[in-house]
């Protein structure tokens, strides 16, 4: 894991040198980053649930409420197309990680070498929701969460939070809210 982290820091540097010389980097990179996910169907299934409601709009209102209760700020809402997006900021600094990095820096300094300590500093969690009226009595809701982490050097990484518990926990809260207001 530590070797992989080191690689993560080295690879961009080597790629940077090639970047300015490759006139087709944008297309090559887009083809890699934008490729359809092989497990798209499974992810969709995990992130989607059906709700017994005759109103897609009501489902969106309830989902908005749950997102806000969870501390998200609503950044986009388009009820006409069943879309909702929100985000929340969180400090990502973990004391053991910082202490470990400082210890490494000191150890390197003792050996006469230089080491630039790196740790996660802040994160944004983003939620994207889309709804669809499936029938007169049912509407579907899809929710996805991603964590965008920035380190103390300003580099970011994205983690897709596709584990079932993220969406099922959200769906449970939406269901409870809908039941409460029925």
């Amino acid at each position: 894991m530590r070797a992989l982290r080191r690689l993560m820091l080295i690879l961009p540097v080597t790629a940077m040198a090639a970047g300015c010389q490759d006139p087709d980097w944008a297309n090559r990179t887009a083809l890699q980053v934008g490729a359809p996910r092989v497990d798209a169907a499974e992810i969709r299934e995990r992130q989607t649930a059906l709700f017994a409601t005759a109103s897609e709009e009501r489902l969106l209102v309830e989902a908005t409420q749950v997102l806000q209760d969870l501390g998200f700020t609503i950044e986009e809402s388009a009820p006409r197309f069943g879309v909702l997006a929100g985000s929340k900021d969180r400090d990502a600094t973990e004391a053991p990680e910082v202490a470990g990095q400082i210890a490494l820096m000191v150890a390197f300094a003792v050996l006469g070498a230089q080491y630039n300590p790196t740790w996660d500093s802040d994160q944004v969690i983003r939620a994207t929701l889309s709804t669809r009226q499936v029938s007169a009595q049912e509407a579907s809701l899809r929710v996805s969460f991603e964590r965008i982490v920035t380190n103390n050097r300003g580099m970011t990484r994205v983690e897709e939070l596709t584990a079932p518990e993220f969406s099922t926990g959200f769906f449970d809260k939406v269901r409870a809210g809908l039941a409460q207001r029925t």
Binding site: M1, L4, L7, M8, L11, P12, V13, T14, A15, M16, A17, A18, G19, C20, D22, W25, A26, N27, T29, A30, L31, Q32, V33, G34, A35, P36, R37, A40, R44, E75, E76, A78, R80, F81, G82, V83, A85, D122, V124, R126, T128, S130, R132, R142, S144, E146, I148, T150, G154, M155, T156, R157, V158, E159, E160
Partner: protein, 181 residues
């Protein structure tokens, strides 16, 4: 973890060329070439197509960044580097025209994607599958929707500061979200 490593490695080339302030690098390809790769017709009315576009983007792993309902325009972001803006326009009562426009890079530097393979494989084929309709090329004599530049997502303190200072400064270039390519 491998995905994270891969994404960071890919971003390196972009960061290397970055200069202060947002820089947009338009495609050098002709308008005809761009139109051919970015535009398709869909045998469905515009609002249905718009919903299909949003479902497809969500499926592909994009985060929805901005939706302009009246203009039927959606901007989305994948990882932090790839941005896509899609505009849907009615084409008669039961058909619509879709134009996708992607850019890739960092917050500071974005280059327009002009790979026909990217638009076909990574957007129109999934859209066709989601909507279960056959997409077709727009006849050359028909007017084409203008490409929309994707809206930037603000994910770091630095990006927020840059956006705030740009908003406070006098406008010297057209806003990102409205300028056509």
């Amino acid at each position: 973890m491998r995905q994270v490593l891969f994404a960071i490695a890919l971003l390196g080339p972009v960061a290397a060329c970055a200069t202060p302030g947002t820089q947009f690098i338009p495609s050098q390809k002709s308008a005809v070439e761009l139109r051919a790769m970015q535009v398709r017709t869909v045998p469905a009315e515009a609002d249905t197509t718009m919903r299909g576009v949003i479902a497809t983007l969500h499926d592909l792993g994009y985060r929805i960044t901005r939706v302009e309902s009246d203009a039927r325009t959606v901007s989305a972001t994948r990882r932090t580097s790839l941005r896509m803006a899609v505009v849907v326009q009615p084409r008669g009562a039961a058909e619509s025209t879709v134009r996708a426009n992607a850019s890739i890079g960092t917050f500071a530097r974005q280059a327009q994607v002009d790979s026909p393979e990217f638009y076909q494989r990574d957007f129109f084929e999934p859209l066709q599958a989601t909507m279960n309709r056959t997409l077709a090329a727009l006849p050359m004599e028909e007017p084409v929707p203008e490409a929309v530049r994707p809206v930037a997502e603000l994910n770091t303190a630095g990006e927020r500061e840059a956006a705030a200072s740009r908003a406070a400064a006098p406008m010297v270039t057209p806003p990102l979200r409205t300028q056509a390519q």
